[in-house]
């Protein structure tokens, strides 16, 4: 336990696989477009981008089976796009309330249920639900698991612990991914989380892995065996990603100072890849920028979503 993926002071940048780079850039440009659309008043409501954290679901993707369940939260676009990059249009339509929306425009950014992907906007609610799904998968006995994403702030909710307790008691195939980005809305982790995530895992006798790397291949190498064990044993696993939120909590509500923001940006894969593989990156970046722009144009032109209230 407590195994740690190596974190060097100056990380060596390994060139990403094509698939990884494609997914990373899709998510980055998708969410950058969302912030633009909000700025232009073309989307209303709210949105939470995972800028800087895209690599987390991208790294996990090959470790998951298509029929595994994913439970996501308010910051879920990346979780969805890493699983279903081909359905970016459906997600965008959901957020824009246009035809072809994944959930008819009813759920919006935070409430998506599509195939085995489900998100909800109430923090902490998902873990008990994930435990229930995992109980069902366990009964099926075919090696599927439930991957549930939560932020560090969500560890404040009591239901998280009620669910962890059951997951451990009942040997559930539950992979809990804690995206510890050091902040919850405006509150630094140190002011809302006592003790450690590792300590909390230990309290339930649940295996724990801490990931500091942002390199998908490195992350997979460290997590392949423990994730396989979640399916095979089955038993829960908590993986804590030490990550960084580049953008505001939602829109224009960042009260962090310039140094803090600079520190977050220093961890961004985007700049690192741009430097490490300039030509390949520039080409891929331009490609995804254009694809997302085309997608935005296409979805914006669709008629409004229709929904018959049940």
């Amino acid at each position: 336990m407590n195994a740690m993926v190596a974190a060097e002071a100056v990380p060596r940048v390994a060139p990403p696989a094509d698939d990884d780079l494609d997914r990373l850039l899709l998510i980055r440009h998708f969410e950058s477009a969302l912030l633009r659309l909000f700025g232009e008043g073309l989307i209303s409501g709210t949105t939470h981008t995972c800028l800087g954290q895209e690599y987390v679901p991208v790294a996990l993707e090959p470790l998951l089976r298509p029929d595994d369940h994913t439970l996501s939260n308010h910051r879920g676009h990346g979780h969805f796009l890493a699983r279903h990059p081909g359905e970016a249009g459906g997600l965008l339509a959901e957020i824009m309330g246009r035809e072809g929306a994944l959930c008819h425009g009813v759920g919006g950014s935070q409430h998506v249920y599509h195939r085995t992907f489900l998100s909800t906007g109430v923090q902490g609610e998902s873990l008990p639900v994930a435990a229930g799904i995992a109980l069902r998968l366990r009964a099926a006995g075919d090696g599927r698991l439930v991957c549930v994403y939560i932020g560090d702030g969500t560890l404040g909710e009591g239901s998280v612990y009620e669910a962890l307790n059951m997951a451990a008691l009942w040997d559930l195939p539950l992979l809990v991914v804690v995206e510890n980005n050091g902040i919850a809305q405006s509150t630094p982790t140190a002011r809302q989380l006592a003790g450690t995530v590792a300590g909390r895992a230990a309290a339930f006798g649940v295996p724990y892995r801490r990931v500091e790397s942002t390199d998908p291949a490195e992350i997979r190498a460290a997590l392949a065996a423990p994730v396989a064990a979640v399916r095979e044993t089955p038993f829960p696993l908590i993986v804590e990603f030490i990550t960084h939120r580049l953008g505001p909590h939602s829109k224009g509500d960042d009260t962090r100072g310039p140094e803090e923001l600079a520190a977050a940006r220093a961890h961004d894969w985007y700049g690192r890849y741009a430097e490490a593989i300039p030509e390949r990156f520039a080409a891929a970046d331009a490609l995804w920028r254009r694809r997302v722009a085309d997608l935005v144009a296409e979805v914006s032109a669709r008629p409004l979503a229709r929904w018959e209230a049940s």
């Binding site: 209303s44 409501g45 709210t46 824009m96 309330g97 929306a101 008819h104 425009g105 009813v106 759920g107 919006g108 950014s109 935070q110 409430h111 909800t120 906007g121 109430v122 923090q123 902490g124 702030g153 969500t154 560890l155 404040g156 909710e157 009591g158 919850a184 809305q185 405006s186 509150t187 002011r191 809302q192 989380l193 509500d253 009260t255 409004l304 979503a305 929904w307 209230a309 049940s310």
Partner: protein
Amino acid sequence: MTVTPATPATPATPATPATPAERVAEHLNRALHDLMDAHPDLHLLGEDITDPYGGAFKITKGLSSRFGDRVRSTPLSESAIVGAGAGLALAGGQAIVEIMFADFAALAFDQLLNFAAKSVSMYGRPVPVPLVVRCPSGGHRGYGPTHSQSPQKHFIGVPGLAVLELSPFHDARALLDHALATRRPSVLFEDKVLYTRRMFHHGVVDELFRFEPPAGPAGVARVHLDGVEEYDCTIIAPGGLAHRAVEAMRTLLMEHEVLCELLVPARLYPFDLDGLPPRGRHVCVAEDGTAGGTWGAEVAARLYPGLWGRLTRPITLVSAADSIIPAAPHLEREVLVDAPAIVRAVLGAAA
């Protein structure tokens, strides 16, 4: 419809006041500053409420800078912070707890229903629990199904628990002071859309309508036409609906010659009209919550005995659709209450 003598389009003085009234958010923020200043035993708890953030809706801005750790940003723990508020109150202090979105007050329901509201009486003697749980509520912002609800109705009918609603006619400082002074817990709903609107002052709503402030801090404000004593309809609505109700009243008057007055209570439960009998021949109760098991039904049940024989038709209830609240604005509009819905309800009842 009959139009009674006075000519409402040309109201008497007062003239429009020179300075615009405060915005509701500023008003509430100032009320909290004054209260914290006046009561050294008052504590404020809530997620992200300290400076520089000052709360998701900025209602608590400046308070932590001024009052230190009497104002605490908490972990995401709605149940525990309401419980802690009850504990502060039980131990001789007073507490105001902010729930970031009213939808999440559901997480604290046990603490409210089974502890705070019961503790005032279940130990066989009165136990003071001066606690107010503030809940920004309501839709019209495209936040989707779990960030847009008006869950007032789920909190009514709990013995020992008062349900209050912020209003542009009621002084927030007086209302909060009153709530704490009852030494019982209350939940205060605050329509998010109200925050950016202005308070009404000097008895003037607009060039058509005037208002009488409530007699007491949690009393009923009455919006009326100058000199008009008899109305076709009395609309009763909580503060969050006030602007939409007034808009409906304007349309009803100008386009349909239907005379309406509006009663806005700050205390939704327990409900009473504060000695202000409805002057309309018809009564319409409007609320933002969903249809079924509504606050309006409770109000109607309370009013019928007194109005029986005087009403020309049954009390009309207006509420949001019996539905979740969709995220997409065009779908959200279909389920929420707007001014035209109130107009339709009043006209429909009269038809």
